[in-house]
């Protein structure tokens, strides 16, 4: 084992940073179970009254349902479209591969404000009425590059020789994909899909521009907060946090562990490093020689 060379100061700073990050979240979760309406210490005991109040609210139920519908639609459309795009991008021998990859990933760097505003202008120009459909379209634009990032990284890591071996054994393009490529990358694709769902489920800024009269869960929290500081907000936020956490965990496990378990074609850490190092953006041919 490698011993740490860092002194007590480093430890203290790390602890302070972690406290700074997690104490506010902890406080919200804690006070969602508070037995009184107080939003500050002292803590007077546990109760589920805020959860009861939240679940009793028709607005909350509508907003949750809307969020579910939008996130599901976004995920369901992203999976096939993103898979096709990622497969094409990772397998093309075209010179446009680099520029195309850049175009696909560039939206990652755009501020949500910009995406929201430009979509609002677009929808107004072509006279599409703001609704959950426009929200779904906006979310597709937003989550697509994240899905691509994950899927292209996984597909680039696949051994081309395996696909050649399958073709050599008589499999046409579709069968190569179905019998060899897909069985190796499906955990990553499902992981990317739940990532898309999670990103859509708690998206606020872009939604704000294109939503119209409906509400989603983040919109509901925001509008409730505008009126009063109601302790039930803590309960809603905690619920949202749980859903998002679970989905990110699923996505993470499938993306970075799933590939390894199924024969080690895709190593988790390497894949992550590669994604972080931005190799996915690269114009290089990687293993495809």
């Amino acid at each position: 084992m490698e011993r740490s060379h860092h002194g007590p100061f480093t430890g203290a700073v790390t602890a302070a940073a972690l406290l700074f990050l997690f104490v506010p979240i902890g406080v919200v979760v804690l006070f969602s179970f508070h037995s009184t309406g107080g939003l500050s210490f002292p803590f007077r005991g546990f109760s589920l009254r805020w959860y009861e109040q939240v679940f009793g609210s028709p607005e909350f139920r509508d907003a949750s349902l809307n969020s579910l519908v939008v996130a599901t639609a976004t995920a369901v459309v992203t999976l096939p479209l993103g898979t096709l795009a990622a497969y094409g991008l990772s397998h093309t021998r075209s010179r446009l591969r680099g520029p195309l990859a850049l175009l696909f990933f560039l939206p990652l760097t755009l501020p949500g404000l910009f995406i929201g505003l430009s979509l609002l202008v677009l929808f107004t120009e072509v006279e599409i009425r703001a609704s959950l459909s426009t929200v779904t379209i906006a979310h597709l634009v937003y989550v697509f590059p994240y899905f691509m990032l994950v899927a292209v990284a996984a597909l680039n890591r696949l051994d081309v020789a395996l696909e050649e071996a399958a073709a050599d054994l008589g499999a046409n393009g579709w069968l190569v994909f179905r019998r060899v490529t897909l069985p190796q990358v499906w955990p990553v694709l499902v992981g990317g899909t739940s990532l898309a769902f999670a990103l859509s489920f708690d998206e606020f800024i872009i939604t704000f521009f294109v939503i119209g009269a409906d509400s989603t869960l983040p919109m509901f929290i925001w509008s409730t907060l505008r009126r009063t500081v109601n302790p039930s907000i803590n309960a809603i936020s905690t619920l949202l946090l749980m859903v998002t956490l679970v989905l990110f965990a699923v996505s993470f496990v499938l993306t970075f562990r799933g590939g390894r378990k199924r024969g080690g074609a895709i190593g988790g850490e390497e894949l992550m490093e590669e994604a972080l190092a931005g190799e996915t953006f690269g114009t290089g041919t990687g293993t495809r020689t």
Partner: protein, 356 residues
Amino acid sequence: MSGALPRVRLDRVTHRFGDVTALDSVSLDVHEGEFVTLLGPSGCGKTTLLRIVAGFERPTEGSVILGGDDVTRAPAHRRPVNMVFQRPTLFPHLDVSENVAFGLRIAGVPRDEIRVRVARALALVRLGGYEGRRNYELSGGQMQRVALARALVNEPKVLLLDEPLSALDLKIRLEMEAELRRVHRETGATFVYVTHDQREALALSDRIVVLNDGRVEQVGEPDLVYRHPASPFVARFVGDSNVLAVEVEAGGAVARIAGHSVPVRSDGIPPGPAWLVLRPEVVRLSPPADEPGLRGVVRDVSFRGTGHSYRIEVPGLHDPVKAEMREGGPFALNDEVALGWDPAACRLLPRSADEP
């Protein structure tokens, strides 16, 4: 000419990657049941040639004919050939028997027949009982044997092998060579094998095709290629050789080298510049006698089990002369020795005057 069509006919195959010519008008016939090896250094085009036969590359010019059918434009999955790759390419999500069954499943062979043929193929490569194993439960040699079974189970018209042993340890490699020879004998299949290892090529093949720089240097049986290399390149690449620049004298039985006259076998080479090819085992060293002749000084000695291997520095020659002696000597470092050889065992090759 025999009436039977060759299993594989390559007709003036040329392949360019951009400005680089990987293959330059290569023609070759491979016959039914033959074990043909494409031998050459890395970058000589041998793997490209194999990939052209498999259908992974389309040649820039020329055609590929398999059993009479022109398949130049056919994609890989429509060709009656199967390949064993350099690295094991077993499908990681399938076990051994599923890997072997892959081609048969694609072809829609009935389940019962698949079971029988998979069992037979695994028995052929001596992996009966390994059906349920996964990739990571197999050694490198076992993986390549599964890959061999996976290819052979389809009864391909031609089996292509792309340096299948190069990733293995020497000991396993020697075992696998014996296995390949046995499998070739037992199946009677046509093998086209690619390697850069001349020892492997000599040990395995019915015929060797020596490739250099995208061109065929020589085609022949291992024995012929070894004894009668067609070019200095083949002489140096296949087995070890001393390739010495000499001037053949009128009459043809004597050549001048480094100021000395040495005996040669003329091989129909006209007087003038030529290459003298001497295998190390042909060179004979002896204590220097009084009569004039080629002499040198031992600069390196190593014991090789069956004998000694020497490097002799000869005044007037650029490279040391390599010699292997089973008996006689041993000579020590810095000993002066006389060099001789049986003229019948050496070989002359044409050389243009401007070649060094």
